[in-house]
Symmetry: C2
Subunit: 208 residues, 2 copies
């Protein structure tokens, strides 16, 4: 059965999944790369990287994924909707390699990129977007790629089957929080926690 | 050298150290006992409890402590200052067994309890309270007992040498947050993280 999954979603100790302000130069605001250094130190990112627990979790990101859904703030900096040439942060060959659905109030025609990534733009609800993405995934799973507002919306709508959260031991102080509005969300999940020697903690939420 | 320590300070995934509302019947608001079940399952609380990692951390609470400082909201529910007979939540023999300093804007005469606990009431700054508590601790360490506002104030003032935080895998959604106003606090500390089979994560902050 096709599942809806979230992977490698990093937050600070105080629950921020991104800092502020988001700009073209700073996609994660004042957080910089600090939320993702754990991942960039693994073979998932760096061919000479580590192959232990952080890599084991990181590489699951792509396994069996047939489509991604992301929010407008993951696709580009504020104002990208006004730039008809904006094609995302990732260059000509983005790391998705599947149909990729961008939720935005300002949809535009689909963009075919190299490496089998096609960006589709949808102005719809999480549930409707998931139906569309699932059809495109052709029996494989759908990844909710972030940012935090979109992850929150899918969790609140009860649409997430598996979620991998990484808690990074820093206090960001400001940005966009993951957990707001999700009181008691753990009741629907089995939660497993394991700490990595790198200092981060991996949480796995599996729907009951 | 006498250190300033925090132990067994539990927070939810979203960083709340207590729920709401605090009342006489619900010292931790809607959080109930959920933030402290991990501790009550150990021999620190229950003679038939567990003796593994959670116990190893929990029991450090009392080792080498000569005084405690707590906030007004730890000492009693809203309005305790108007009750001349209020002596804390803990009965005639509170679990402190040292001089215990309650920060309040409405100080009152000291109260001697059984078991060597004396409650003193101070209307002063964290730094001044620490000097007084340290003198009373007679060479031993001073524990900052909470709640979250007081812990935050001592951290913000740079007064904490060692802090043990326990992250409980629940999303409380509301209450009082630990980390607010502490952006970057980790820079002054070595942070170690270890997950327990019970599902909680122990973080140890040791001042550099």
């Amino acid at each position: 059965m096709s599942r809806t999954r979230i992977h490698n979603f990093a937050i600070s100790l105080d629950g921020f999944a991104t800092g502020e302000p988001q700009t073209l130069e700073t996609p994660f605001g004042h957080a910089g790369r600090r939320l993702h250094n754990w991942m960039m130190a693994t073979r998932f990112w760096d061919p000479a990287g580590s192959t232990g627990i952080d890599y084991a979790f990181a590489q699951r990101n792509n396994e069996g994924i047939g489509a991604e859904i992301m929010g407008a703030n993951k696709f580009g900096p504020p104002g990208w909707q006004d730039d008809p040439d904006w094609k995302g942060w990732w260059g000509e060959n983005p790391p998705f390699h599947t149909p990729t659905f961008v939720l935005t109030h300002h949809p535009r025609p689909a963009i075919e990129m190299d490496g089998d990534t096609t960006f589709h733009f949808l102005a719809t609800t999480p549930g409707a977007a998931l139906e569309i993405a699932r059809a495109a995934a052709d029996g494989l799973d759908v990844r909710i790629g972030g940012g935090p507002s979109v992850v929150r919306d899918f969790l609140a709508a009860g649409l997430v089957d598996l979620m991998h959260i990484v808690v990074v031991p820093i206090v960001l102080g400001r940005g966009v929080r993951l957990w707001d509005g999700l009181e008691g969300i753990e009741a629907g999940y089995d939660v497993e926690v394991v700490a990595s020697p790198s200092g981060v903690t991996h949480l796995t939420f599996t729907r009951k």
